[in-house]
C-alpha cells in the first residue's frame, strides 16, 4: 500500500508560521530600539553633563601644541608640536614594543614548547617550570619587577659597564656604541619588552606543545619507518601539521600582546595609552582621548587578524 502524499500545509499552519515571523520581527525591533534608546540616553546625559561642567568637546584640540615632552621615540617630536603628532609618536612606540615583543615571544615560546618533547628530562622539566611560573603571575607585576630590577641593579650613569667594548649598560639603558647618539634601549622600553615577551612566551609554549601533541603518533612513526632522520621528521612531517592547529590560537596571543602593551603606562614608557592619559589630564577631554585609544587598538586588532588569517590560509590543508 502506497503512503499517501502529505497534504498541503493547512491554513492554520501557514498562519502559525506567519505569526512566528511577526514575533521574530517584533523581538528584533525591540532589541534595536532598546540599544538605540540606551545610546541616546547616554549621549544626551553626557552632553548635558559637559554643558554643566563647562567641558569643551571635539577633536579640534589635536591641532593645538601639546606642550609636554616624550621620553623616547623613533619619530622626531618636541613639546611645541601638536597633539596629533604626540599621539602618532605614542602609536609608533606601541608598535615598536609590540612588534619586538611578538618576534621575541614567538622564538622563545616555540623553543620552550618544543623543549617539552625533549628526550632529556631536565630540559623538559625546565620548560615546564618556566611556563607554570610565568603564566601564573600577573603581567603588570612582572613588568614592575623588571623595571625595578633594571633601575636598581644597572650601574650608575657615570660608570657604565661595557660588554665586548660596544654594548654600554647604565641606568640610562643599554646603548649599542659608545657615542652620544648611539641607539639606546631605555630601561622603560626594556622592562615592557621583557615583561610582554617572557609572559606571552609561556602561553605560546603551551600552544606549540598542544599543537605538536595533536599530530598523531603514527605520522612520526611512519616518517621514521621511511628512514627520515628525526630532525627532518620534525621539519617535514610534524611541524607543517602542527602549524594548522597552532596558528589560530597564536593569533589571539599576538592580539593579547598588543593589547597588553597598554600596561606600559605603569612603568612610564610613552606608548599610546600613556600619551592619551597625559593629554586627557591636560585637556580634560576624556571622551575624545579614550575614543582614540579604543579606535586605534580596534584597528590594530583588525590588522593583525587579517594578516594572521592570510598566514592561516597558507598553513591550512590544501584540498584539491
Amino acid at each position: 500500500m502506497a503512503i499517501a502524499p502529505r497534504p498541503a500545509p493547512s491554513r492554520r499552519a501557514k498562519a502559525a508560521s506567519a505569526r512566528a515571523r511577526r514575533r521574530s520581527a517584533f523581538y528584533q525591533l525591540l532589541a534595536v530600539a532598546a540599544v538605540a534608546l540606551l545610546a541616546w540616553w547616554l549621549a544626551s546625559t553626557t552632553l548635558q553633563n559637559m554643558r554643566l561642567r563647562g567641558i569643551q568637546s571635539g577633536f579640534d584640540f589635536l591641532w593645538a601644541p601639546a606642550g609636554f615632552e616624550i621620553g623616547e621615540g623613533l619619530l622626531p617630536y618636541q613639546s611645541t608640536d601638536a597633539y596629533w603628532r604626540a599621539f602618532l609618536a605614542g602609536l609608533v612606540n606601541t608598535l615598536r614594543v609590540g612588534v619586538s615583543g611578538i618576534v621575541a615571544c614567538t622564538v622563545l615560546g616555540t623553543a620552550l614548547g618544543a623543549g617539552r618533547f625533549s628526550a632529556n628530562a631536565i630540559v623538559r622539566g625546565v620548560c615546564w617550570g618556566y611556563v607554570e611560573l610565568f603564566r601564573n603571575i600577573p603581567l603588570l607585576l612582572q613588568m614592575l619587577t623588571w623595571y625595578l630590577v633594571l633601575t636598581q641593579f644597572l650601574p650608575p650613569i657615570d660608570e657604565p659597564a661595557r660588554i665586548a667594548g660596544w654594548i654600554v649598560m647604565s641606568k640610562n639603558g643599554v646603548a649599542f656604541g659608545a657615542g652620544e647618539d648611539s641607539p639606546t634601549l631605555s630601561p622603560e622600553f626594556l622592562a615592557v619588552l621583557l615583561g610582554l615577551s617572557l609572559y606571552t612566551a609561556a602561553f605560546v609554549a603551551e600552544i606549540v606543545r598542544a599543537g605538536i601533541a595533536a599530530v598523531p603518533r603514527g605520522q612520526m612513526e611512519a616518517a621514521s619507518a621511511l628512514g627520515l632522520p628525526s630532525r627532518r621528521v620534525m621539519r617535514l612531517v610534524v611541524l607543517p601539521q602542527a602549524l594548522r592547529i597552532i596558528v589560530p590560537p597564536l593569533t589571539s596571543q599576538y592580539l593579547n600582546l598588543i593589547k597588553n602593551s597598554s600596561l606600559a603606562v605603569a612603568v612610564g614608557y610613552p606608548d599610546l595609552v600613556s600619551i592619551a592619559n597625559t593629554s586627557l589630564n591636560q585637556t580634560g577631554r576624556a571622551v575624545e582621548c579614550i575614543t582614540i585609544i579604543m579606535a586605534v587598538y580596534l584597528a590594530l586588532s583588525l590588522l593583525i587578524s587579517v594578516l594572521m588569517n592570510r598566514v592561516n590560509r597558507g598553513a591550512a590543508i590544501k584540498e584539491r
Binding site: I55, V123, E132, N136, L140, L141, T145
Partner: protein, 366 residues
C-alpha cells in the same frame, strides 16, 4: 644441500618496571647531546639554587629591623619588610582593629566559589546562597547594623582582589549567557548586536575600559548620581569579562548536538524550555574548565585597577612601601611576596581546571 635451519635466540622480555638506572640512561644520558645538556643544565640549576638559597634563606634578615636589613642589602633578602608591612600589603588601609572582617568575608566568598565549581552541589540551594553570602560580604566589609562603617576607599589588598574577581565574574555570567544565546539566534538584528558587542570589547585593552569607568562614567549618568569608583570599576570589568565569557559559553552551546534540541522540540518543549532544561545544563557543564581559566586570567587582570587608584594587592604594596623611606628600598622582597600569593592562587586553580577537564574527557569517553 640447504644450510641447516636454526632459530634465532628469543630476546629477553622487557623489564616489567624500568629501574632507576635504565630511567636515567633513557632520560638523561641517551646521547652525547643529551648528556651535554644534562651536565650544563644541572650545573646552571645548582648554581642558581645556591645563589637563591644564599640570598633568600642563609643571609636573609627575618626580623622587622630596618637597620639590620640595610646592612644585609645586596647579600641577603629582607623578609622583615613582610613582618612589618604584611597587614598593609594584605589588607590595604582597612582599619587595623577590624582586620577580622575582611579576612572572614574573603574566606566566605572563596568557600562559595569553591563550592560553586563542584557540579554535585549545583542545586537551588546554591542559587540562594550566592545573594546571601554577597549580602553578608558587603555587610562585613562595609559595616552598618552593629558594625562600624568602613568607606570603600579604605578597602584594599587581597580581599579587594578576590572581591573584584568574584563580583565581576558572577555578574558577567548571566550577561554572557544572554549574549551567547543572542549570537546563535536566528534573528539577524539580535545576532548582529551581540557580535558587535563581543568583537568591540575583545578588540580593546582592559585599561581603556578602566579609564572609561573612572573618567567617562561620571559623564554618563545624571549629575550627582555617579556611583562610587569601586562600583564603576566592577561594572567596567563585568562588561569586559562578559564578552570573553560569552565566547566560552558559545563554545559550550556549540558542543551540544543538534539532535538534543530537535528531540526537545519533538516532545513539545518551547525554545526557552529547551534551552533551560536541555541545552544549557549540558553546555555549562562542558565550559566549567575554561571558565575557571577565565577566572584565573581575571584574577591576574585585577592588578590593573591600581592604575586607576584602587589599592588591591599590587596597589597596596606600593601604598605600604612608597611612603616609608625606611622600607622603600626593600620593594623587591615585597614584589616577590605578592608574586608568591598570586602564583599559589593561580597555580592551584589551574591544577583544578586540569582535573575537571580530565574528568570531563573521561565521562565523554563513556
Amino acid at each position: 644441500m640447504a644450510a641447516p635451519m636454526s632459530f634465532i635466540d628469543a630476546r629477553p622480555p622487557p623489564a616489567r618496571r624500568p629501574d632507576a638506572r635504565s630511567w636515567l640512561r633513557e632520560n638523561l644520558f641517551s646521547s652525547a647531546g643529551s648528556t651535554l645538556a644534562t651536565l650544563l643544565f644541572a650545573a646552571l640549576l645548582a648554581w642558581a639554587a645556591a645563589v637563591v638559597l644564599g640570598w633568600a634563606v642563609v643571609h636573609a634578615v627575618w626580623v622587622a629591623d630596618a637597620d639590620e636589613c640595610q646592612a644585609a642589602r645586596g647579600i641577603g633578602a629582607c623578609w622583615g619588610v613582610i613582618a612589618e608591612k604584611g597587614r598593609l600589603i594584605l589588607l590595604g588601609r582597612y582599619p587595623a582593629d577590624e582586620s577580622w572582617r575582611p579576612v572572614t568575608a574573603t574566606v566566605l566568598l572563596l568557600g562559595l566559589v569553591v563550592a560553586s565549581c563542584n557540579r554535585r552541589l549545583w542545586n537551588s540551594w546554591l542559587a540562594l546562597l550566592w545573594p546571601a553570602v554577597s549580602a553578608l560580604y558587603l555587610w562585613l566589609m562595609g559595616g552598618g547594623a552593629g558594625l562600624s562603617r568602613v568607606a570603600t576607599d579604605l578597602w584594599g589588598g587581597l580581599p579587594l582582589t578576590v572581591m573584584l574577581t568574584v563580583a565581576s565574574l558572577a555578574l558577567a555570567f548571566p550577561l554572557a549567557i544572554v549574549i551567547a544565546l543572542g549570537r546563535r539566534s536566528t534573528m539577524p538584528a539580535v545576532r548582529t548586536l551581540c557580535i558587535a558587542y563581543v568583537e568591540l570589547v575583545r578588540g580593546v585593552p582592559l585599561i581603556s575600559v578602566l579609564f572609561m569607568a573612572s573618567f567617562m562614567f561620571p559623564l554618563f549618568v545624571p549629575p550627582g548620581h555617579s556611583p562610587d569608583v569601586l562600583v564603576r570599576v566592577v561594572i567596567g570589568i563585568t562588561l569586559f569579562a562578559a564578552a570573553y565569557m560569552a565566547e566560552i559559553v558559545r563554545g559550550g552551546l556549540q558542543s551540544v548536538p543538534r539532535g538534543q534540541v530537535e528531540a526537545a522540540a519533538s516532545i513539545g518543549l518551547t525554545w526557552w524550555q529547551a534551552q533551560r532544561k536541555i541545552v544549557l545544563p549540558q553546555a555549562l557543564a562542558a565550559v566549567v574548565p575554561p571558565i575557571v581559566n577565565n577566572f584565573i586570567s581575571l584574577f591576574k587582570d585585577t592588578s590593573l585597577v591600581t592604575i586607576v587608584s584602587l589599592y588591591e594587592l599590587t596597589g597596596a604594596l606600593s601604598l605600604a612601601l612608597d611612603s616609608d623611606p625606611n622600607w622603600r628600598p626593600f620593594k623587591a622582597e615585597g614584589y616577590l611576596f605578592i608574586a608568591a600569593i598570586y602564583f599559589v592562587f593561580c597555580f592551584a586553580m589551574s591544577r583544578y581546571s586540569l582535573r575537571l577537564e580530565q574528568r570531563l574527557a573521561r565521562s565523554h569517553g563513556r
